[in-house]
Protein backbone atom coordinates (compact mmCIF):
# COMPACT_ATOMS: atom_id res chain seq x y z
CA UNK A 1 0.00 0.00 0.00
CA UNK A 2 1.37 3.38 -0.82
CA UNK A 3 1.67 5.99 1.87
CA UNK A 4 2.57 8.93 -0.31
CA UNK A 5 1.65 9.39 -3.95
CA UNK A 6 2.96 12.30 -5.95
CA UNK A 7 1.30 12.88 -9.31
CA UNK A 8 2.27 15.36 -12.00
CA UNK A 9 4.10 17.59 -9.58
CA UNK A 10 5.52 20.80 -10.99
CA UNK A 11 7.32 23.35 -8.83
CA UNK A 12 8.43 26.63 -10.41
CA UNK A 13 10.10 29.63 -8.80
CA UNK A 14 9.78 33.04 -10.35
CA UNK A 15 13.15 34.85 -10.22
CA UNK A 16 14.60 37.96 -11.78
CA UNK A 17 16.29 35.90 -14.49
CA UNK A 18 13.22 33.87 -15.35
CA UNK A 19 11.19 30.94 -14.13
CA UNK A 20 13.24 28.27 -12.37
CA UNK A 21 11.66 24.91 -13.18
CA UNK A 22 12.96 23.11 -10.11
CA UNK A 23 10.54 20.21 -10.54
CA UNK A 24 8.96 19.43 -13.92
CA UNK A 25 7.34 16.88 -13.76
CA UNK A 26 7.52 14.21 -11.10
CA UNK A 27 5.35 11.16 -10.39
CA UNK A 28 6.46 9.09 -7.44
CA UNK A 29 5.14 6.69 -4.85
CA UNK A 30 6.43 5.77 -1.45
CA UNK A 31 4.95 2.61 0.05
CA UNK A 32 4.42 1.86 3.73
CA UNK A 33 7.74 0.90 5.31
CA UNK A 34 9.57 1.70 2.10
CA UNK A 35 12.88 3.47 2.20
CA UNK A 36 13.30 5.32 -1.04
CA UNK A 37 16.57 6.97 -2.05
CA UNK A 38 16.38 10.10 -4.19
CA UNK A 39 19.68 10.54 -5.99
CA UNK A 40 20.93 13.39 -8.07
CA UNK A 41 23.50 16.09 -8.50
CA UNK A 42 23.40 19.30 -6.50
CA UNK A 43 20.82 21.65 -7.98
CA UNK A 44 18.66 19.03 -9.70
CA UNK A 45 15.67 19.78 -7.47
CA UNK A 46 15.99 17.00 -4.86
CA UNK A 47 15.64 19.27 -1.86
CA UNK A 48 12.78 21.14 -3.49
CA UNK A 49 10.88 17.86 -3.81
CA UNK A 50 11.27 17.23 -0.08
CA UNK A 51 10.27 20.78 0.75
CA UNK A 52 7.21 20.66 -1.45
CA UNK A 53 5.94 17.55 0.32
CA UNK A 54 5.81 19.36 3.65
CA UNK A 55 5.10 22.65 1.88
CA UNK A 56 7.94 24.72 3.21
CA UNK A 57 8.61 26.61 0.00
CA UNK A 58 8.32 30.36 -0.19
CA UNK A 59 4.84 31.70 -0.93
CA UNK A 60 5.71 32.95 -4.41
CA UNK A 61 6.41 29.38 -5.59
CA UNK A 62 4.05 27.97 -8.19
CA UNK A 63 3.08 24.39 -7.41
CA UNK A 64 0.93 22.16 -9.61
CA UNK A 65 -0.10 18.54 -9.25
CA UNK A 66 -1.18 16.42 -6.33
CA UNK A 67 0.57 14.96 -3.31
CA UNK A 68 -1.64 12.33 -1.72
CA UNK A 69 -0.89 11.29 1.82
CA UNK A 70 -3.25 9.00 3.76
CA UNK A 71 -6.18 9.99 1.58
CA UNK A 72 -5.51 13.72 1.68
CA UNK A 73 -4.05 15.94 -1.02
CA UNK A 74 -1.42 17.85 0.95
CA UNK A 75 -1.36 20.63 -1.61
CA UNK A 76 -5.02 21.38 -0.91
CA UNK A 77 -4.78 21.51 2.87
CA UNK A 78 -5.02 24.81 4.70
CA UNK A 79 -1.91 26.13 6.42
CA UNK A 80 -3.38 25.14 9.78
CA UNK A 81 -4.12 21.56 8.70
CA UNK A 82 -0.66 21.33 7.17
CA UNK A 83 0.94 22.36 10.45
CA UNK A 84 -0.65 19.37 12.11
CA UNK A 85 1.06 17.12 9.58
CA UNK A 86 4.50 18.69 9.74
CA UNK A 87 6.65 17.15 12.42
CA UNK A 88 3.84 14.84 13.53
CA UNK A 89 2.97 12.81 10.43
CA UNK A 90 5.81 13.79 8.14
CA UNK A 91 9.13 14.88 9.57
CA UNK A 92 11.86 16.51 7.59
CA UNK A 93 15.47 16.35 8.67
CA UNK A 94 17.03 19.34 6.98
CA UNK A 95 20.54 19.36 5.64
CA UNK A 96 23.43 21.04 7.43
CA UNK A 97 22.75 20.57 11.16
CA UNK A 98 25.14 23.40 12.07
CA UNK A 99 22.83 26.00 10.61
CA UNK A 100 19.62 24.05 11.07
CA UNK A 101 19.77 24.00 14.86
CA UNK A 102 18.88 27.20 16.61
CA UNK A 103 22.09 28.46 18.25
CA UNK A 104 20.40 30.17 21.19
CA UNK A 105 18.09 27.39 22.36
CA UNK A 106 19.00 24.28 24.28
CA UNK A 107 19.04 21.12 22.19
CA UNK A 108 16.63 19.40 24.57
CA UNK A 109 14.15 22.26 24.32
CA UNK A 110 14.33 22.22 20.56
CA UNK A 111 13.32 18.57 20.58
CA UNK A 112 10.75 18.97 23.35
CA UNK A 113 8.80 21.79 21.74
CA UNK A 114 7.55 19.60 18.90
CA UNK A 115 6.59 16.86 21.37
CA UNK A 116 4.76 19.34 23.55
CA UNK A 117 2.89 20.70 20.56
CA UNK A 118 1.91 17.50 18.78
CA UNK A 119 1.48 15.06 21.64
CA UNK A 120 -0.05 17.44 24.11
CA UNK A 121 2.42 16.55 26.82
CA UNK A 122 3.28 19.08 29.51
CA UNK A 123 6.66 20.69 29.62
CA UNK A 124 8.17 18.19 32.00
CA UNK A 125 6.96 15.08 30.22
CA UNK A 126 8.00 16.51 26.86
CA UNK A 127 11.40 17.13 28.23
CA UNK A 128 11.74 13.60 29.53
CA UNK A 129 10.68 12.34 26.14
CA UNK A 130 13.32 14.58 24.53
CA UNK A 131 16.00 13.01 26.69
CA UNK A 132 14.69 9.60 25.68
CA UNK A 133 14.96 10.60 22.04
CA UNK A 134 18.55 11.72 22.50
CA UNK A 135 19.25 8.38 24.09
CA UNK A 136 17.62 6.55 21.19
CA UNK A 137 19.98 8.24 18.73
CA UNK A 138 22.86 7.08 20.95
CA UNK A 139 23.98 10.36 22.38
CA UNK A 140 25.94 9.60 25.57
CA UNK A 141 24.70 11.10 28.86
CA UNK A 142 21.56 12.45 27.15
CA UNK A 143 20.28 14.04 30.36
CA UNK A 144 23.21 16.39 30.46
CA UNK A 145 23.36 16.87 26.73
CA UNK A 146 19.74 17.99 26.57
CA UNK A 147 20.73 21.04 28.58
CA UNK A 148 23.50 22.02 26.22
CA UNK A 149 23.47 24.35 23.25
CA UNK A 150 24.19 23.26 19.67
CA UNK A 151 27.67 24.82 19.64
CA UNK A 152 28.70 22.35 22.34
CA UNK A 153 27.88 19.43 20.06
CA UNK A 154 30.23 17.96 17.46
CA UNK A 155 29.13 17.68 13.83
CA UNK A 156 28.04 14.06 14.15
CA UNK A 157 26.22 14.77 17.40
CA UNK A 158 24.36 17.64 15.81
CA UNK A 159 23.23 15.32 13.05
CA UNK A 160 22.05 12.84 15.67
CA UNK A 161 20.17 15.61 17.42
CA UNK A 162 18.53 16.54 14.13
CA UNK A 163 17.47 12.94 13.67
CA UNK A 164 16.12 12.79 17.22
CA UNK A 165 14.16 15.94 16.51
CA UNK A 166 12.68 14.43 13.36
CA UNK A 167 11.73 11.19 15.12
CA UNK A 168 10.39 12.85 18.23
CA UNK A 169 6.72 12.61 17.37
CA UNK A 170 6.93 9.18 15.77
CA UNK A 171 6.13 10.29 12.21
CA UNK A 172 4.96 7.87 9.51
CA UNK A 173 7.22 9.41 6.90
CA UNK A 174 10.71 10.81 7.34
CA UNK A 175 12.27 13.02 4.73
CA UNK A 176 16.02 13.11 5.31
CA UNK A 177 17.86 15.69 3.26
CA UNK A 178 21.57 14.93 2.85
CA UNK A 179 22.03 13.79 6.45
CA UNK A 180 25.57 12.57 5.79
CA UNK A 181 26.85 15.59 3.92
CA UNK A 182 30.07 17.02 5.28
CA UNK A 183 30.66 14.25 7.84
CA UNK A 184 33.90 12.30 7.83
CA UNK A 185 33.79 8.63 6.90
CA UNK A 186 33.56 6.97 10.32
CA UNK A 187 30.90 9.35 11.56
CA UNK A 188 29.07 8.97 8.27
CA UNK A 189 28.93 5.20 8.71
CA UNK A 190 27.58 5.59 12.24
CA UNK A 191 24.86 7.94 11.05
CA UNK A 192 23.96 5.57 8.23
CA UNK A 193 23.66 2.72 10.69
CA UNK A 194 21.54 4.84 13.00
CA UNK A 195 19.23 5.95 10.19
CA UNK A 196 18.80 2.40 9.06
CA UNK A 197 17.87 1.37 12.55
CA UNK A 198 15.44 4.17 13.35
CA UNK A 199 13.68 3.98 10.00
CA UNK A 200 12.71 0.35 10.49
CA UNK A 201 8.96 -0.06 9.95
CA UNK A 202 8.77 3.54 8.76
CA UNK A 203 8.71 5.14 5.36
CA UNK A 204 11.61 7.32 4.46
CA UNK A 205 12.54 9.55 1.56
CA UNK A 206 16.29 9.66 1.65
CA UNK A 207 17.68 12.56 -0.38
CA UNK A 208 21.37 12.33 -1.19
CA UNK A 209 24.02 12.71 -3.85
CA UNK A 210 25.96 9.86 -2.23
CA UNK A 211 24.94 6.66 -3.94
CA UNK A 212 27.06 4.55 -1.62
CA UNK A 213 25.12 5.71 1.41
CA UNK A 214 21.79 5.29 -0.35
CA UNK A 215 22.50 1.66 -1.20
CA UNK A 216 23.08 0.82 2.41
CA UNK A 217 19.78 2.23 3.57
CA UNK A 218 17.28 2.23 0.76
CA UNK A 219 15.03 -0.42 -0.76
CA UNK A 220 14.46 1.49 -3.98
CA UNK A 221 16.27 4.30 -5.70
CA UNK A 222 14.92 7.11 -7.86
CA UNK A 223 17.43 9.01 -9.96
CA UNK A 224 16.64 12.62 -10.60
CA UNK A 225 18.04 14.81 -13.33
CA UNK A 226 17.14 18.43 -14.12
CA UNK A 227 13.80 18.43 -12.35
CA UNK A 228 12.48 15.02 -13.36
CA UNK A 229 13.06 11.34 -12.61
CA UNK A 230 15.10 9.48 -15.19
CA UNK A 231 15.29 6.04 -13.59
CA UNK A 232 13.55 4.13 -10.83
CA UNK A 233 14.59 0.67 -9.65
CA UNK A 234 15.35 -1.61 -6.74
CA UNK A 235 18.62 -0.65 -5.16
CA UNK A 236 20.46 -3.73 -6.34
CA UNK A 237 19.17 -3.29 -9.91
CA UNK A 238 20.52 0.23 -10.05
CA UNK A 239 23.94 -1.21 -9.40
CA UNK A 240 23.72 -4.37 -11.43
CA UNK A 241 21.78 -3.08 -14.35
CA UNK A 242 21.73 0.70 -14.63
CA UNK A 243 19.80 1.61 -17.74
CA UNK A 244 19.83 5.35 -18.16
CA UNK A 245 23.09 6.79 -19.52
CA UNK A 246 22.98 9.33 -16.72
CA UNK A 247 22.70 6.62 -14.07
CA UNK A 248 25.58 4.76 -15.74
CA UNK A 249 27.63 7.94 -15.80
CA UNK A 250 26.76 8.61 -12.18
CA UNK A 251 27.97 5.14 -11.19
CA UNK A 252 31.17 5.50 -13.20
CA UNK A 253 31.95 8.73 -11.44
CA UNK A 254 32.04 7.01 -8.05
CA UNK A 255 35.52 6.66 -6.52
CA UNK A 256 35.50 2.82 -6.50
CA UNK A 257 34.21 2.70 -10.08
CA UNK A 258 37.00 4.69 -11.65
CA UNK A 259 36.09 8.32 -10.88
CA UNK A 260 35.10 9.14 -14.46
CA UNK A 261 33.06 12.32 -14.39
CA UNK A 262 30.14 12.88 -16.77
CA UNK A 263 31.19 15.41 -19.37
CA UNK A 264 29.51 18.80 -19.47
CA UNK A 265 27.56 20.50 -16.72
CA UNK A 266 24.09 20.02 -15.37
CA UNK A 267 21.72 22.34 -17.21
CA UNK A 268 20.24 25.55 -15.88
CA UNK A 269 16.75 24.94 -14.56
CA UNK A 270 15.62 28.18 -16.15
CA UNK A 271 16.59 27.17 -19.68
CA UNK A 272 16.10 23.41 -19.97
CA UNK A 273 17.48 21.60 -23.03
CA UNK A 274 14.96 20.54 -25.66
CA UNK A 275 14.04 16.89 -26.06
CA UNK A 276 15.75 14.66 -23.55
CA UNK A 277 17.24 16.93 -20.92
CA UNK A 278 20.35 14.81 -20.74
CA UNK A 279 21.10 14.76 -24.48
CA UNK A 280 23.83 17.47 -24.50
CA UNK A 281 25.92 15.29 -22.17
CA UNK A 282 24.92 11.89 -23.48
CA UNK A 283 27.21 9.68 -25.57
CA UNK A 284 24.27 7.77 -27.02
CA UNK A 285 22.22 10.77 -28.05
CA UNK A 286 20.50 10.53 -31.44
CA UNK A 287 18.68 13.17 -33.45
CA UNK A 288 15.44 12.07 -31.86
CA UNK A 289 16.78 12.80 -28.38
CA UNK A 290 17.36 16.44 -29.27
CA UNK A 291 13.75 16.99 -30.28
CA UNK A 292 11.47 14.61 -28.47
CA UNK A 293 11.12 14.34 -24.72
CA UNK A 294 11.29 10.63 -23.76
CA UNK A 295 8.53 9.22 -21.50
CA UNK A 296 9.16 7.17 -18.36
CA UNK A 297 8.70 3.53 -19.34
CA UNK A 298 8.60 0.45 -17.14
CA UNK A 299 11.10 -1.97 -18.68
CA UNK A 300 10.63 -4.75 -16.21
CA UNK A 301 8.65 -4.92 -12.97
CA UNK A 302 9.77 -2.16 -10.64
CA UNK A 303 12.37 -0.80 -13.05
CA UNK A 304 11.48 2.23 -15.14
CA UNK A 305 13.64 4.49 -17.24
CA UNK A 306 13.26 7.66 -19.30
CA UNK A 307 15.35 6.94 -22.37
CA UNK A 308 14.78 6.20 -26.08
CA UNK A 309 17.44 3.49 -26.00
CA UNK A 310 14.88 1.13 -24.48
CA UNK A 311 11.77 1.92 -26.46
Amino acid sequence: MSLLTITHLKVHFPTQDGMVKAIDTIDLEIANSERLGLIGETGCGKTVLGMSIIRLLQPSTKIEGEIWYKGKDLLKLSEGEMRKIRGKEIAMILQNPTTSLNPVLKVGDQIAEAIQLHQGLDKRAAREKAVEMLESVKIPSPDKRANEYPHEFSGGMKERAMIAMGLACNPSLIIADEPTKGLDVTIKMQIVKLLKEVSRRKSMLFITHDLGVATQICDNIAVMYAGELVEYAKTEDVFKNPLHPYTQGFLNSLPNMGLKPIRGMSPSLIDLPSGCRFHPRCDHASAKCTIEHPPMVEIEKGHSVRCFLYT
Binding site: G87, L94, L101, N102, V104, L105, A114, L117, H151
Partner: protein
Protein backbone atom coordinates in the same frame (compact mmCIF):
# COMPACT_ATOMS: atom_id res chain seq x y z
CA UNK B 1 39.74 37.75 25.01
CA UNK B 2 36.33 39.21 24.44
CA UNK B 3 36.18 40.45 28.01
CA UNK B 4 39.66 41.93 27.96
CA UNK B 5 38.98 43.91 24.81
CA UNK B 6 35.73 45.12 26.29
CA UNK B 7 37.33 46.25 29.52
CA UNK B 8 40.12 47.88 27.55
CA UNK B 9 37.58 49.69 25.43
CA UNK B 10 35.77 51.01 28.48
CA UNK B 11 39.06 52.00 30.03
CA UNK B 12 39.99 53.91 26.92
CA UNK B 13 36.62 55.62 26.73
CA UNK B 14 36.69 56.75 30.35
CA UNK B 15 40.27 57.89 29.98
CA UNK B 16 39.50 59.78 26.78
CA UNK B 17 36.45 61.47 28.28
CA UNK B 18 38.23 62.52 31.45
CA UNK B 19 41.23 63.79 29.54
CA UNK B 20 39.00 65.54 27.12
CA UNK B 21 37.16 67.23 29.97
CA UNK B 22 40.49 68.25 31.39
CA UNK B 23 42.13 69.59 28.27
CA UNK B 24 39.20 71.22 26.55
CA UNK B 25 39.10 74.44 28.58
CA UNK B 26 42.88 74.55 28.66
CA UNK B 27 43.51 74.35 24.94
CA UNK B 28 40.57 76.29 23.58
CA UNK B 29 41.40 79.54 21.80
CA UNK B 30 40.20 82.68 23.51
CA UNK B 31 41.10 81.45 27.00
CA UNK B 32 37.93 80.12 28.61
CA UNK B 33 39.55 80.86 31.98
CA UNK B 34 39.66 84.55 31.19
CA UNK B 35 36.64 84.96 33.44
CA UNK B 36 38.74 83.79 36.34
CA UNK B 37 41.32 86.46 35.83
CA UNK B 38 38.69 89.14 35.35
CA UNK B 39 39.44 89.83 31.70
CA UNK B 40 36.64 92.22 30.65
CA UNK B 41 36.64 90.99 27.05
CA UNK B 42 35.01 87.66 27.90
CA UNK B 43 31.37 86.94 27.34
CA UNK B 44 30.87 85.70 30.90
CA UNK B 45 27.45 86.90 31.89
CA UNK B 46 28.08 86.17 35.55
CA UNK B 47 30.13 88.45 37.72
CA UNK B 48 32.23 86.34 40.04
CA UNK B 49 32.52 87.23 43.65
CA UNK B 50 35.86 86.82 45.30
CA UNK B 51 34.86 83.68 47.24
CA UNK B 52 33.81 81.68 44.18
CA UNK B 53 36.80 82.91 42.25
CA UNK B 54 39.15 81.64 44.92
CA UNK B 55 37.41 78.27 44.97
CA UNK B 56 37.65 77.90 41.21
CA UNK B 57 41.26 79.02 41.08
CA UNK B 58 42.23 76.45 43.65
CA UNK B 59 40.15 73.75 41.86
CA UNK B 60 41.74 74.33 38.51
CA UNK B 61 45.18 75.11 39.98
CA UNK B 62 46.23 76.94 36.88
CA UNK B 63 49.51 78.09 38.37
CA UNK B 64 50.73 74.50 38.82
CA UNK B 65 52.41 72.50 36.03
CA UNK B 66 50.02 70.70 33.68
CA UNK B 67 50.89 67.21 34.93
CA UNK B 68 50.10 68.25 38.51
CA UNK B 69 46.83 69.80 37.35
CA UNK B 70 45.92 66.54 35.66
CA UNK B 71 46.80 64.52 38.72
CA UNK B 72 44.75 66.80 40.96
CA UNK B 73 41.88 66.67 38.53
CA UNK B 74 41.71 62.88 38.55
CA UNK B 75 42.15 62.78 42.34
CA UNK B 76 39.31 65.28 42.77
CA UNK B 77 36.99 63.24 40.60
CA UNK B 78 37.78 60.08 42.52
CA UNK B 79 36.81 61.98 45.67
CA UNK B 80 33.54 62.99 44.06
CA UNK B 81 34.66 66.58 43.75
CA UNK B 82 33.57 67.85 40.34
CA UNK B 83 34.29 71.49 41.06
CA UNK B 84 32.14 74.47 41.95
CA UNK B 85 29.17 75.64 39.95
CA UNK B 86 29.49 79.36 39.25
CA UNK B 87 25.84 79.90 38.53
CA UNK B 88 24.39 77.94 41.43
CA UNK B 89 27.25 78.78 43.79
CA UNK B 90 27.27 75.20 45.02
CA UNK B 91 29.36 72.09 44.47
CA UNK B 92 28.73 70.74 40.96
CA UNK B 93 27.99 67.28 42.30
CA UNK B 94 25.26 68.60 44.61
CA UNK B 95 23.63 70.43 41.73
CA UNK B 96 23.81 67.34 39.50
CA UNK B 97 22.58 64.95 42.12
CA UNK B 98 19.21 66.68 42.30
CA UNK B 99 18.69 66.39 38.55
CA UNK B 100 20.02 62.92 38.04
CA UNK B 101 16.91 61.17 39.37
CA UNK B 102 14.67 63.04 36.95
CA UNK B 103 16.86 62.15 34.00
CA UNK B 104 16.98 58.53 35.08
CA UNK B 105 13.20 58.50 35.40
CA UNK B 106 12.70 60.06 31.99
CA UNK B 107 15.33 58.06 30.14
CA UNK B 108 14.45 54.85 31.93
CA UNK B 109 10.73 55.05 31.22
CA UNK B 110 11.15 56.04 27.60
CA UNK B 111 13.89 53.48 26.94
CA UNK B 112 11.73 50.65 28.20
CA UNK B 113 8.73 51.77 26.16
CA UNK B 114 10.65 52.51 23.04
CA UNK B 115 12.75 49.37 23.06
CA UNK B 116 9.69 47.21 23.64
CA UNK B 117 7.54 48.87 20.99
CA UNK B 118 10.35 49.34 18.48
CA UNK B 119 11.39 45.71 18.70
CA UNK B 120 7.81 44.53 18.47
CA UNK B 121 6.96 46.68 15.48
CA UNK B 122 10.22 45.81 13.74
CA UNK B 123 9.56 42.12 14.23
CA UNK B 124 6.02 42.41 12.92
CA UNK B 125 7.27 44.37 9.94
CA UNK B 126 9.89 41.76 9.08
CA UNK B 127 7.40 38.99 9.50
CA UNK B 128 4.98 40.68 7.10
CA UNK B 129 7.74 41.76 4.73
CA UNK B 130 6.39 42.88 1.38
CA UNK B 131 2.81 43.04 2.64
CA UNK B 132 0.80 46.15 3.34
CA UNK B 133 1.39 46.07 7.09
CA UNK B 134 5.13 46.23 6.51
CA UNK B 135 5.03 48.96 3.88
CA UNK B 136 2.65 51.00 6.04
CA UNK B 137 4.65 50.62 9.24
CA UNK B 138 7.90 51.35 7.45
CA UNK B 139 6.70 54.55 5.82
CA UNK B 140 4.90 55.69 8.94
CA UNK B 141 7.78 55.12 11.33
CA UNK B 142 10.45 56.48 9.00
CA UNK B 143 8.35 59.64 8.58
CA UNK B 144 7.62 59.94 12.26
CA UNK B 145 11.23 59.62 13.30
CA UNK B 146 12.26 62.34 10.86
CA UNK B 147 10.81 64.85 13.30
CA UNK B 148 13.59 66.32 15.43
CA UNK B 149 12.78 65.59 19.05
CA UNK B 150 12.74 69.24 20.05
CA UNK B 151 10.31 70.14 17.26
CA UNK B 152 8.06 67.24 18.16
CA UNK B 153 8.19 68.37 21.79
CA UNK B 154 7.18 71.88 20.79
CA UNK B 155 4.25 70.54 18.78
CA UNK B 156 3.15 68.37 21.71
CA UNK B 157 3.30 71.33 24.06
CA UNK B 158 1.17 73.40 21.74
CA UNK B 159 -1.29 70.64 20.93
CA UNK B 160 -1.71 68.66 24.15
CA UNK B 161 -0.50 71.22 26.64
CA UNK B 162 -1.85 74.55 25.43
CA UNK B 163 -4.71 73.82 23.00
CA UNK B 164 -6.22 70.80 24.70
CA UNK B 165 -4.89 71.56 28.16
CA UNK B 166 -4.44 67.88 28.90
CA UNK B 167 -0.90 67.98 30.21
CA UNK B 168 1.35 70.40 32.03
CA UNK B 169 3.85 71.97 29.65
CA UNK B 170 6.86 72.23 31.91
CA UNK B 171 8.59 70.87 34.96
CA UNK B 172 8.62 67.45 36.58
CA UNK B 173 5.94 68.19 39.17
CA UNK B 174 3.49 70.92 40.06
CA UNK B 175 5.40 73.68 41.88
CA UNK B 176 4.58 74.30 45.53
CA UNK B 177 2.02 71.54 45.62
CA UNK B 178 1.31 69.76 48.87
CA UNK B 179 0.50 66.16 48.14
CA UNK B 180 -1.99 64.64 50.53
CA UNK B 181 -0.99 61.09 49.59
CA UNK B 182 2.03 59.65 47.90
CA UNK B 183 -0.30 58.23 45.27
CA UNK B 184 -1.27 61.76 44.36
CA UNK B 185 2.38 62.64 44.07
CA UNK B 186 3.07 59.72 41.77
CA UNK B 187 0.14 60.67 39.56
CA UNK B 188 1.40 64.24 39.36
CA UNK B 189 4.88 63.08 38.44
CA UNK B 190 3.56 60.69 35.79
CA UNK B 191 1.35 63.45 34.43
CA UNK B 192 4.41 65.61 33.93
CA UNK B 193 6.44 62.72 32.58
CA UNK B 194 4.08 61.61 29.85
CA UNK B 195 4.65 64.26 27.18
CA UNK B 196 8.46 64.36 27.39
CA UNK B 197 8.61 60.57 27.49
CA UNK B 198 6.25 60.26 24.53
CA UNK B 199 8.38 62.76 22.61
CA UNK B 200 11.54 60.78 23.27
CA UNK B 201 9.89 57.51 22.33
CA UNK B 202 8.43 58.77 19.06
CA UNK B 203 11.53 60.68 18.03
CA UNK B 204 13.81 57.69 18.51
CA UNK B 205 11.72 54.66 17.69
CA UNK B 206 12.80 54.64 14.05
CA UNK B 207 16.33 53.49 14.78
CA UNK B 208 15.44 50.46 16.85
CA UNK B 209 12.56 49.61 14.54
CA UNK B 210 14.78 49.51 11.46
CA UNK B 211 17.50 47.61 13.28
CA UNK B 212 15.05 44.96 14.45
CA UNK B 213 13.43 44.72 11.06
CA UNK B 214 16.74 44.21 9.24
CA UNK B 215 18.01 41.83 11.85
CA UNK B 216 14.78 39.84 11.79
CA UNK B 217 14.83 39.65 8.00
CA UNK B 218 18.31 38.18 8.16
CA UNK B 219 17.29 35.69 10.83
CA UNK B 220 14.13 34.64 9.00
CA UNK B 221 16.31 33.45 6.14
CA UNK B 222 18.26 31.13 8.42
CA UNK B 223 17.97 27.37 8.22
CA UNK B 224 16.86 26.92 11.82
CA UNK B 225 13.69 28.87 11.08
CA UNK B 226 12.95 26.31 8.40
CA UNK B 227 13.63 23.56 10.93
CA UNK B 228 11.15 25.17 13.28
CA UNK B 229 8.55 25.34 10.52
CA UNK B 230 9.22 21.70 9.66
CA UNK B 231 8.27 20.83 13.21
CA UNK B 232 4.83 22.25 12.61
CA UNK B 233 5.23 25.13 15.05
CA UNK B 234 3.00 28.15 14.69
CA UNK B 235 4.39 31.25 12.96
CA UNK B 236 3.81 33.45 15.97
CA UNK B 237 5.63 31.02 18.22
CA UNK B 238 8.52 30.75 15.76
CA UNK B 239 8.81 34.53 15.66
CA UNK B 240 8.87 34.87 19.42
CA UNK B 241 10.93 31.92 20.42
CA UNK B 242 13.19 31.11 17.50
CA UNK B 243 13.66 34.33 15.56
CA UNK B 244 13.47 37.17 18.03
CA UNK B 245 16.20 36.06 20.38
CA UNK B 246 18.62 35.62 17.52
CA UNK B 247 17.56 38.91 15.99
CA UNK B 248 18.22 40.72 19.26
CA UNK B 249 21.87 39.65 19.30
CA UNK B 250 23.16 42.18 16.78
CA UNK B 251 20.84 44.80 18.26
CA UNK B 252 22.33 44.53 21.71
CA UNK B 253 25.73 45.45 20.27
CA UNK B 254 24.18 48.67 19.01
CA UNK B 255 23.02 49.74 22.49
CA UNK B 256 25.91 52.19 22.74
CA UNK B 257 24.68 54.12 19.74
CA UNK B 258 21.08 53.85 20.87
CA UNK B 259 21.92 55.13 24.35
CA UNK B 260 23.88 57.97 22.77
CA UNK B 261 20.89 59.01 20.71
CA UNK B 262 18.60 58.72 23.73
CA UNK B 263 20.81 60.94 25.87
CA UNK B 264 21.08 63.45 23.07
CA UNK B 265 17.32 63.48 22.78
CA UNK B 266 17.03 63.94 26.52
CA UNK B 267 19.05 67.16 26.46
CA UNK B 268 16.74 68.63 23.86
CA UNK B 269 13.51 67.28 25.28
CA UNK B 270 14.36 68.34 28.82
CA UNK B 271 15.14 71.79 27.49
CA UNK B 272 11.87 72.07 25.60
CA UNK B 273 9.79 70.82 28.53
CA UNK B 274 11.90 72.59 31.18
CA UNK B 275 12.28 69.17 32.77
CA UNK B 276 14.75 69.51 35.63
CA UNK B 277 17.19 66.79 34.56
CA UNK B 278 20.87 66.65 33.75
CA UNK B 279 20.25 67.55 30.12
CA UNK B 280 18.43 70.69 31.06
CA UNK B 281 21.27 71.51 33.42
CA UNK B 282 23.77 71.08 30.59
CA UNK B 283 21.78 73.51 28.50
CA UNK B 284 21.57 76.02 31.33
CA UNK B 285 25.26 75.70 31.91
CA UNK B 286 25.87 76.48 28.26
CA UNK B 287 23.62 79.54 28.40
CA UNK B 288 25.34 81.07 31.42
CA UNK B 289 28.77 79.69 30.46
CA UNK B 290 29.05 77.83 33.76
CA UNK B 291 31.96 75.68 32.59
CA UNK B 292 32.45 73.57 35.72
CA UNK B 293 28.79 72.60 35.71
CA UNK B 294 28.89 71.98 31.97
CA UNK B 295 31.80 69.61 32.31
CA UNK B 296 30.28 67.86 35.29
CA UNK B 297 26.99 67.33 33.49
CA UNK B 298 28.83 66.03 30.46
CA UNK B 299 30.76 63.58 32.57
CA UNK B 300 27.62 62.23 34.22
CA UNK B 301 25.99 61.81 30.83
CA UNK B 302 28.99 59.89 29.55
CA UNK B 303 29.00 57.64 32.58
CA UNK B 304 25.31 56.92 32.00
CA UNK B 305 26.11 55.81 28.48
CA UNK B 306 28.95 53.62 29.64
CA UNK B 307 26.58 52.07 32.15
CA UNK B 308 24.17 51.40 29.30
CA UNK B 309 26.98 49.68 27.44
CA UNK B 310 27.75 47.49 30.39
CA UNK B 311 24.09 46.55 30.61
CA UNK B 312 24.12 45.71 26.91
CA UNK B 313 27.13 43.46 27.35
CA UNK B 314 25.38 41.59 30.11
CA UNK B 315 22.24 41.23 28.02
CA UNK B 316 24.37 39.87 25.20
CA UNK B 317 25.88 37.21 27.40
CA UNK B 318 22.40 36.30 28.56
CA UNK B 319 21.09 36.05 25.01
CA UNK B 320 23.97 34.27 23.35
CA UNK B 321 25.00 31.00 24.97
CA UNK B 322 28.08 30.86 22.74
CA UNK B 323 29.70 33.74 24.60
CA UNK B 324 29.44 32.08 28.00
CA UNK B 325 31.34 29.02 26.98
CA UNK B 326 34.14 30.71 25.14
Amino acid sequence: MHKITKIATYGIIIFVILSFNFFLPRIMPGDPFAFLTGDPSTDMPVVLDAGIKAKLLSYYGLDKPLSMQYYDYIANILHGDLGWSIYYNAPVWDVLRGSLKWTLLLVGTSTVIYMASGIMLGAVSAWKKGKRVDAGLLTFILSLSSFPSFFLGLLFIILFGVDLGLFPISGARTPFMDYSTSFEEIIDILHHLLLPAATLVIAHIGGIYLLTRNSMLNVLGEDYILTARAKGLREGYIMRRHALKNALLPISTMIALIAGFMITGTILVETVFAYPGVGRLLYEAVLVRDYPLLQGAFMIITLLIIAANLAADMIYVYLDPRVKHK
